[in-house]
Every structure is written in structure tokens, then in C-alpha cells.
Amino acid sequence: MSVAVAPASAPALLLERITCAFSSRERAGESYTAVRNTTLSIAPGEFVSVVGPTGCGKSTLLNVAAGLLQPSSGAVQVLGAPLVGINRHSGYMFQAESLMPWRNALDNVLAGLEFAGVERDESEHRAGEWLSRVGLSGFEKRYPHELSGGMRKRVALAQMLILDPQIMLMDEPFSALDIQTRQLMENELLELWSANRKSVLFITHDLEEAIALSDRVVVLSAGPGTHPIGEYLIDLPRPRDVNEIRLTPRFVELHTQIWHAMKDEVLKGYAQSRRQ
């Protein structure tokens, strides 16, 4: 059995000169360019965060990487091969509620295994393990509406991780949580990630979250025609505790530096949202 192995130099995920234009709903014939000529590469095992002002097309970029959205132009490569259809090597954690409300926690976690045809006994066993890994043992039979927001995010995390994806795509997954739960979840994510290092593309509008979690932070311009305007290597030591690391001088230094670059774009984005 031969397995196609990507060359060592190949990035886990490569977005090349991606442009996404949408036809405008209000004015026929006009189009809105959400993302313009964006190139982004993520190395195997690298944690990359993308920050940018609200409404700048961050989620569009992630949907392109997931294969849920076909870009207007540009190419996507996954583990060295061009992406066709859904990105089977990636897991996706959504900003909105993504659990199936008619399935309990256990059945939600094992959904991916069920789709792949894994036997019921084995998938139940593995899903139970994952639930306890995200701190939810004892909640197997609860339906999503019986769980708190943070618990639902843990179930969604386990649901994604059980398939052991090479690439994790995360779209502001913790933005709906309160600040304490959020920091707990960030630490848990880092712990799970460092135990089994996969590539992560993490979208957020929160610069502190981006710096605390990532190896590299990419700053996007305000829309329309979003494109990267800066890249920053985060050389903070690991393992990290997201609460404590925020107080270190190097964190503050990086934050000041990146925020300085972001500020103009945030103001631009704010002005645009006011105009609409």
C-alpha cells in the first residue's frame, strides 16, 4: 500500500492569491469583493491566527480553506495537493451553534465516525473517551439545549478532534463565551493541541487571544478587498498559560506592535460599518 506523502517542505495549507467576489444583493450587476489577492501558508504543526476588523472577510477565507466556498480566483493546496470539493483533511469549528440539536452529546461527538462507517461499539467507546478528555464525562446523554454554551463548545471541539484532522480551522470559536470560560477553553485547546500538534488556522477579532495562542499572527486589512497587511512571529515560550502570558513584557511589546499596525484598519472598518 503506497501512501502519497507530501514533500517535507510542503505547507499543510496554502491559499494562493485568493479572491472572492460576491454579486451584490441590493444592486444588481455590482459585485462586492470580500477578499482580494490573499496568499497565506501554514506549515505542518503551526498555529496561525488571523486577526482583522469585524466584517473584513475572515470567515470567507476560512470557508475557502474548508472547501465550503469556491474562490472567484486563486488556488488552495492541502498537504501539497490541490483542493477539490470539501477539505477532507481538515476539521472546522464554527462560531455559531453547529451541533445537531436532535443528537445527545455522545451521538454528536461520534457523528464523524458514524459517517465514516465505524462500528457503533467502537465509535461510542472513542466518543466517550473524547468527552472525558474535554471534561464532559457524565454528560453523554444530554442534548445540546441542556448544556451550557461552554459545554457545547467542548462537545464541538471533541466532535472535530475525534476525526484527528491534519488541519484545524477555527472561526472565532470562543467569541460567544464569557471571558472566564473563554480563557479556560483557550488553555484546554492549547493543551490538546500540544499533545498532538496539528496545523491550526484560527480566526479571531481578539488580538490578545491571537497572540496568546499562536506561533504567528496575520493581520488583515479592513474590507472590502481584504488582504494581509502584516505578519508577526510570536516567539513566546510554550507551554503557555493564556492568563499569565498576557502579563509578560514580551506579550505587551508584541501587542503594542501589532495593535499599532491594526489600529488604522480597525478605524477604517468601524467607519465603514457606521456608513452602512
Binding site: 470539501i86 477539505n87 472546522y92 451553534e97 445537531m100 436532535w102 439545549h145 464541538a156 466532535q159 472535530m160
Partner: protein, 299 residues
Amino acid sequence: MPKADANSNAIVVPVTGQNAVAKRTAVRSLRSQPGRLLLYHALLLGGLFGFWYLMTEPGLIPPFYFDDPTRAKFFFGQPTEVFKRIWNWFVGGSIYLHLGVTLLETVLAFAIGTLLGLLFGLWLALSPSASTLADPYIKAMNAMPRVILAPIFAVWFGLGITSKVVFGVTLVFFIVFFNVYQGVKEVSPVVLANARMLGASGKQLLRFVYLPSATSWVFSSLHTAVGLAFVGAVVGEYLGSARGVGYLIHQAEGVFDIDTVIAGILVLTIFALILDFIVTRIENRLLVWRPGTAETEAL
């Protein structure tokens, strides 16, 4: 504290504090005490029948509308007579054939109509081109007063049960169809995208996402559908048949036997309630995942 209402110049006591609390506890206690609720239901029903008896029994109260004291009985029937009819039907056994035919027609119309509605609803919701093509025809057929079709079906399918079942199906189909269509359209795009990212194939999406998501819509339509299946069966029988409760009612109406008409209506109502209850039981079993209205417990 009483205060003057600017609009009506009346003194109103704002419903706050003690009043509001008392109101809420009353509602809660009625819902959480099925025994007492049942008692109230029984009292209401008894009251209605009592009122009916009072108004129609000759000589019980002085006549105030009709000149003849037996006239009210003639127009509105009498509860005692109605129950006597029902008793004789069930004890004498003459009702079972008619009831069986009506129930068979109802259940067949309900099952076939629901199945067709489900299949067409899924198909049209998942295939945009088919739905665009069929849209004006579906709308026209739904807007058409379909009760008019019953005599035509009697001509086409004869006076047996087939014509009633077909008629019932045309009533049930559209209710279920529109609800399934809507239910599939309302599937959360995020849940759908998530299932696709987890590797679900087209068939798996249908089975594990679209169908469960449409279930709550389907069940809300089934309650209406049960009633309409009964309407189909009874109206069909009424217009032309030799068996069924609708036939009994029609015969009784021919000789102005209001008691038998009302007895037939009561029997039908009770069986419609039983069918609706069965649907509710199945619904509660299938939809355990639905968030209920949380109610705090009074301590």
C-alpha cells in the same frame, strides 16, 4: 398604589408585586396538578351538557323563544337521547361496521397522504429546479377548493372506500407537503456545513440532518392532517356511500333526526381525539431533544 390612567381617567391598580405573583402561581399549579386540571375539564364538560339539557328538556323551564315547548328539542337534540343512541349503537353493535369503515378510510388517507407529502416535500426542497418548475402548480392545487373534488372522485372511483381515501389524501398531502418543504428549507446552514465537514455524504445528510430537522415541522402538520383525514372520510361518505359514520349522519339528517346526527358527530370527535393523542405520543417520543419550556418549581 392606585393611580389614574391618563387614557381612561379610571383608577387602575397596577398588577405588580403580590397580584402578579399570585397569578403566576395559579397558572403553574393548574399545569403541574394534572388531577385538578382533569377535574376542571370534567366540570366544564358537565356544565356544557347540563346547559344543553336545561335548554332542551320540554317543560323544565318556561318557553322563552319557541312557542312550542318541544321545539327546542327538535332543533338541538337532547343529551339524554344522544347518549341513548350512542349506547344502543355500541351495545347493539350496529355502529362497528360503519365506524370501522370510516376509521379505515381515515387511517389510509392519513398514512398515504403523509407519505406522499413527505416524499414530495423532501424531493422539491432538495431539488431547486424541480421546485421552480412545480411551484405554480402546487400553489394552484393548494388554493383550489378541493372539497369540490369529492363528487368527481365518487364518479371516478365508485362509492366504495377508494374515493374517500383519495379525497382524504388530497386534503392531507398539502398540509404535510408544505411543512416538510419548509422544514427542510429551515435547516440551519451551520449544522449542515458542520455535518459536511464531518464527512457526511449526500444520503447521510438526508438521513441524519434534513429528516430529523424536518421532524418537528412534520409533526406540527400531522395534528392538522389527522383532522383533515377525518373530514375527507366523512364528507366523502356524506356525498355518496352505503357505509360509514358519514352515511349514518346523512341518513339521520334526511328524517330530521338531530339526536342521531349529534351522536354521530360526538363519536367521530372522540375517535379524532384518540388519533390525535396517538400522534402526540409518537411526537413526544421522537422529539425528546426539543427544548421544553422550563418552569421553576414552587418551593
